[in-house]
Amino acid sequence: MTRPAALGKHLARLWGLVLLAGVVSLAWQLRDGLPSDTRLTALLPQDRQNPLLERADARLGRAFEDRFVLLLDAPALPRATADLAERLSAADGGRLLTRLDWRDVDFADSDPAAVLGPYRYRLLTPSLRQAIEQDGGTSLVQPALARLFSPGGDPEPVADPFGLLDRWLAQQDDSPVSSWQGLLTVRDRDGTRRSLLIGRLADTPYAPSAQQALTRALRAFEAAHPDARLLHSGLIFHAAAGARQARHEITTIGLGAFLALIVILLAVFRSPRTLLALLLPLAGGLLVATPLTLALFGRLHLLTLAFGASLIGVAIDYALHLQCERAVQGRRFHLRPLLPGLALGLVSSLAAYLALALAPMPGLRQMALFAAAGLAGAWLTGVLWLPRLALPVHPATARIAARWWSLTTPRRTLAPGWLAVVALILLGVIAWRLTADDSLRLLNPSSSAQLAEERQVQSLLGRDTGSRYFLVTADDEPALLERLATLGQRLDTASADGLTIGYRNLADRVPPPRMQDANLAAVRRLYGEPLATLVERAGLPGSVIDKARATLDSVPRLDVATWLDAPAGTADRRLWLGPVTTDDGTTRLAATLVLNGVDSAAEGRRLAAIADALPGVRYVDRVARLSHLLGELRRHVSLWVGLALALLTAGLVLRYRRQAWRVVTPALGALLGTLAVYAIAGVPLNVFSQLGMLLVLGIGLDAGIFSAEHARRPATWLAVSLSTLTSVLAFGLLAFSATPALHYLGLTCLIGLTLVGLLVPWVRPAPPRIKERPHGEH
């Protein structure tokens, strides 16, 4: 006995050093606060099949990330707007924003004509081109004359006698924003005028300091202007609401669960010291998991934290088993007989979590690693340290164990045959009715009111969200612009045929070279007879004709780079992907054509058909694509967990032989039961309810293994009951979370773990001949 004891002592010391190292590295990693990530989309898999799509998505999404838009409706609009702008600019000591546009002059600081002037003879609106085609441009003389003599015109008889550039710019300007009393304003269909403020954040929208500074500034403004109404749009508002909700739930659900847990454990063990000792493995688990995850991933995801904090439920299992055993056995307590059960419990849970790590989702991998490392750390802490701690044993614990045992032991035992029949029926129900839901709504913690407000702002501003687009590739720029232009024509044809969509096309801004050449040729026609007529009727000197014609001698072609550099073109930068490497390794150019107003599946199919008919064009529905990926992920998770379960069952059969069904029934029964409940209630399955199943599986297997290893011992049953109850508190209460992801995780745990608790008494091995007498009972 001395040698293992000495070995245990050494190991315990060594483990102490490991945990100390964990403390030191964690302290170093947290020196600037916890690097956390609240983006739920960070959980999504990288689309390995199509990095180009990834890039297009990122490009279209990023354009909006650091911006936010406020629409203000207030009685004294100019004054209220100025006050709001002042508060925003001053927020966080002036460090919140790098830019705020709210006056009409904020947009008037560059003259588009200055940049596009030289190219104007190659840029013709369709109506001008048509007019020249019809009669050589004679019909354009009269409007040009009117323009020359109108007081409002800005005539340039030499540079642009027909006002081509003005017409071009007017066509490009499709913004619903207008200037009013020095403000930027938009009006809705009811005529309500709102002022527009566009802010650009200095920090990322996920930075808590930026979220708080913005929220404070807006609150102060709303307090000062009680009759003002604000519409918000921008990632930062969603991120802030998500963070606020998470904080709120941590303080209600989290704290509630924690308090209930402490009350229950105190009631059973009657010793605060024991309680602290029980939490020791949890601390050990976190001290291993957090530094390791931070070292490997750089930052912790919100969901990892939620999931990791919920690790309490599982990590505390081992400590509960040890302590219940100790309370009941008293001086006769030895660790050794418990070790096989504890080890099997750990291995089964680790297998379930590590199966997750095989999924191609960075977020899931992080969670799996966090859970597995935390579990291993908690297990080692429990096994190496707890038996060495002198803990008070209260006789009440043994009494409770005995009473709970007699109270819950069923009078009959269960035949495996019946179980198989029930399992088959449940499988039938599941196969018949269970549905799945992979919509992105699950990932979106924003309330529906918030999403509606976002949509309202986007539609008032006539903007797209970049979620549906065409991805167009070609070998060079002329070919790419040509393809975009052809696509635009097809869309126009479809629009004339009843398709109600809008789009923004780079080729409308930068026509393909062939069209630019054709435009120049048309302008040369216009500068023939019609120009002479105009000059003559206007009474301008004849020299104007030659001077004007001379401007057509060398007209540069407008290319994409020039347009994107122009102030008016910056908004189109998000459409341009530039050179990309395609699947077959060749380098091509790519651009997107972004759609808006696509709101039915039929429209989506029509757009996909348009894309299919054109070479190098692909229709992308980002939301549908991500949903598809989520679904794929869900199927991945089921597959891997199913495989892990099959392997585990095989392993358990090796150890328990004919009794193996007793070990797996709580876990499998709970899973089948939960799925059947979902099937009957019509709750669709999603990836987060599957994560919950994983937890149910881990805890259910632990319960089955302990029941089988330590058959019919009240101490074991008490430990299993406590561990199930603590897990229900830790995870199950998440069912009340308003975040869809956590809600489904929690709901599954609530149902599944309750079923585990109900099933365990029925599958205990048959009573042994000699009745075991718990210590403290007579």
Partner: protein, 187 residues
């Protein structure tokens, strides 16, 4: 230079710049309607040429402004409050329609006495007396200064002359004559 139209029409009956010449302010602001003739001369510096046009106009407060060119080309522009209202909520508009409506909106803001907008863009200097006054408007924003050097208005009972100088040396001068308050609208 559309701003010019707004300026001009706005000031014809202008209910006060930030003048402290209360008399002028009152007199201009009291006009509910006005009609008359105009001669417009645009001097193009680089061609050293003048483009001259003439016509008539009518303004009815809160209803419409009609600017009718007679020579050398016939052209009639009407701005109404309806144009202004339609300025932003007509999604099917072509760009030029929409731009025109925005002009109408801004124009009517001016006519209805929204001088804040004007002062945001220009600094105003007043000289002379009630019978012969002159107002100089200098653009505040650099972006506007790049195109517009300055505006001067002069008049007595009503605005009589308006002169606009662009940054490239062109000038536009409008002289008003036969100014008549519309029947029933004079105080």
């Amino acid at each position: 230079m559309r701003l010019f139209v707004l300026l001009m029409l706005g000031l014809l009956s202008s209910p006060a710049l930030a003048f402290d010449l209360a008399d002028l302010q009152h007199r201009l602001g009291a006009t509910q309607g006005l009609s008359g003739r105009f001669v417009q001369t645009r001097h193009l510096a680089d061609l050293d040429t003048d483009l001259e046009s003439r016509g008539h106009f009518t303004y009815q407060r809160g209803k419409r402004v009609v600017w009718a060119l007679e020579q050398p080309v016939e052209d009639r522009q009407v701005f109404t409050p309806a144009d202004a209202r339609a300025a932003d909520d007509a999604p099917g508009d072509t760009g030029s329609d929409r731009r025109r409506r925005q002009i109408a909106a801004l124009l009517l803001n001016l006519l209805d006495g929204d001088w804040q907008a004007l002062e945001r863009r220009f600094s105003l200097t007043l000289s002379g007396d009630a019978t012969a006054w002159q107002v100089a408007l200098a653009p505040r924003q650099a972006a506007l200064r790049e195109r517009l050097a300055g505006v001067t208005l002069a008049g007595g009972r009503y605005v009589e002359r308006l002169r606009l100088e662009t940054a490239d040396g062109d000038t536009l001068t409008v002289r008003f004559s036969d100014l008549q308050p519309l029947a029933g609208s004079d105080p």
